[in-house]
Symmetry: C2
Subunit: 371 residues, 2 copies
């Protein structure tokens, strides 16, 4: 396995390191911008890389439906197709099948669903998910197929989904096989129940994965419950493997999760917020459409190296959104993507310098009111 | 006047030169991307400049309504507001008042209209247009207020609009006054009638403007009639002043117009086409949504210096449009903007080398079928 995870420094439970992959290094804690349909929405790959991202996430569900995994494969794989030559992590498709497709039926064998685009029927099994991610898309980090029980789920339901996920983890691992240049992550499930999280983690660790994801959070349980569940989960994961909290989150979520030992994140928030006029900053979030920005000549962040953050006034961004101009969506998506990367860099630096507790306290003070 | 027009080479009626302005040189023949609402739609100023544009066009009508000319002025003028430090030409607002506003009444004094955004009433006179363009927006090249008769217009109607435009030219010039660092262009009207075009040109030349625009074309008369009318107009304009054909056009329109001595153009076509999936190329236009591009691994133009033209396959662009991704609109707008600039550069080179006739013949052969 050419995926070495070098843990360089810890500060309490927080960790910083480097995940080395054949396509380049991923500095951790890392935030992965989401490239749903083979594009980080409204941004070029150069802008995403320039913002500091080491790795992107691609969505198996979207890509298998359009343009189809087979077509991406014929066109050279996902990296070549979208023009991103650094690492890509793909999700398994399972979560989005449940949240986006028209009809979904889960059996022991597979998920059967109809496309939200054209109603066509598809089957996603652990084996098919491995084929799509590893062989057709050519992902660097492949996720097992799992079942994420809808929130709220009682202990029985959460247990059932956790056990199915564990059986699918074994099938995913068997189908993935031994690969030199691709990694496979297992996914811890178990809802908000500490005993299930512990059991899920133990089952996965016993099988042995290149990294461990924490799924089934940020699905409606709220920030406090998420952090509490996370605290019951990370202690059961091996220190020498990367830990990835899926689908998270807001800046304060990221900081609190890093404090509990998480190494990797992904979320559509930076780009989705950006398209709707919300900018995330060190001072918290702001809605650029608010009238108070109409003649504000300051940029979103004068100290940022990102052109979108530094070179445009809030007044101009306000105008672009009021006039429904695409450039507004571009610039705020770009700014937010850069801000999230700057936040990760600040955490990496704070951990390396043994100052993460002070960083955490400052962020809590400033952001607890809603950021 | 610091606007020197250095005519460097002619080839038949075609001309190439440089219009020197305090904010930089404009190589002619020049195509001005349109920055309607203080943004060339879907592009950053860096991308527009990188594509080769020396000058942008701003729309007085849009800007006076939103964010308002007074606000742009308070925010530092249009260049500072939108982050473009090179020359800007603004139209007078008259044409878009007639085509976009809800109610328009033209009197000898002014145009009265209601905003298409909020129904508010506004008055645009020659004097107010000068104030907006020259004083509030801070345009480098200011256009007189004119009346463009709706097509088709009979001789009487065209004459009436031409004469009003001439009186408004005089008032525009008086209101503009003497300025060192801004230029004022008159606008030739007269419909498709050679006698009216000649009279209009003579009236403007007698007043003396820094440049001469040709208005009232590309309003429905078709390519042949446009070229015919243009041929009856340019001979009446002084050789030592720039000539600007407003709102034109498709690539073949540009080539045919340069052949008749036009120096400057503007059109929304590159960006509007781009947002709808149409790419303009040396081989003619293509619709990237066409199924035949689904697995086409060639770029739009491998020889272009523009990343959008060179670094993305048609298959990827096709996918982006099928998936309604903003990046598709960005990349095709960018490509088209670059292609139009490359076309202008090719014409400048052909004229400088005395080979414009061959260039024109080749373009006619290839593009007459609809490009």
């Amino acid at each position: 396995m050419t995926f070495a995870f070098d843990l360089q420094q810890t500060d309490g439970q927080a960790r910083t390191g480097v995940l080395r992959t054949p396509r380049g290094e991923i500095r951790t804690p890392a935030f992965m911008p989401v490239g749903t349909a083979a594009t980080v929405k409204a941004l070029t790959c150069d802008q995403v890389r320039g913002a500091g991202a080491d790795i992107l996430l691609g969505n198996t569900y979207h890509l298998m439906l359009r343009p189809t995994a087979e077509r991406v494969h014929r066109l050279g794989g996902l990296h070549t197709f979208m023009g991103w030559d650094r690492p890509i992590l793909t999700d398994s498709g399972g979560f989005q099948v449940m949240s986006l497709s028209n009809i979904a039926k889960i059996s022991e064998q597979a998920v059967t669903f109809r496309s939200h685009i054209d109603g066509s029927e598809h089957v996603l099994s652990p084996e098919r998910s491995m084929e799509i991610q590893a062989d057709l898309l050519g992902s660097d980090i492949v996720m097992q197929l799992d079942e994420c029980a809808a929130y709220p789920a009682d202990h029985d339901r959460a247990n059932e989904a956790m056990l199915l996920s564990a059986r699918w983890a074994a099938r995913s691992k068997a189908a993935f096989g031994i690969r030199d240049s691709q990694a496979l992550f297992g996914i811890v499930q178990g809802g908000v129940y500490g005993d299930l999280r512990a059991e899920s983690a133990q089952r996965l660790v016993d099988m042995g994965f290149d990294g461990y994801a924490i799924g089934g959070l940020a699905v409606g349980e709220g920030h406090e419950m998420m952090v509490k569940t996370l605290a019951l989960t990370t202690p059961h994961l091996p220190a020498h493997r990367p830990r990835y909290l899926m689908g998270v989150g807001k800046p304060l979520d990221l900081v609190e999760s890093v404090a509990l030992g998480v190494d990797m994140f992904d979320c559509v928030l930076p780009t989705r917020s950006g398209r709707h006029g919300q900018a995330w900053t060190w001072d918290g979030p702001l809605n650029i459409k608010n009238a108070k920005y109409a003649e504000d000549l300051t940029p979103l962040d004068a100290n940022s190296a990102c052109p979108a953050s530094r070179d445009y006034t809030k007044a101009y961004l306000h105008h672009l959104f009021k006039a429904n101009e695409i450039l507004g969506q571009i610039l705020l998506s770009w700014h937010n993507t850069a801000f999230f990367q700057e936040l990760m860099q600040a955490m990496r630096t704070a951990i390396a310098q043994g100052e993460f507790n002070a960083f955490l306290a400052a962020r809590r003070r400033q952001w607890r009111a809603g950021a």
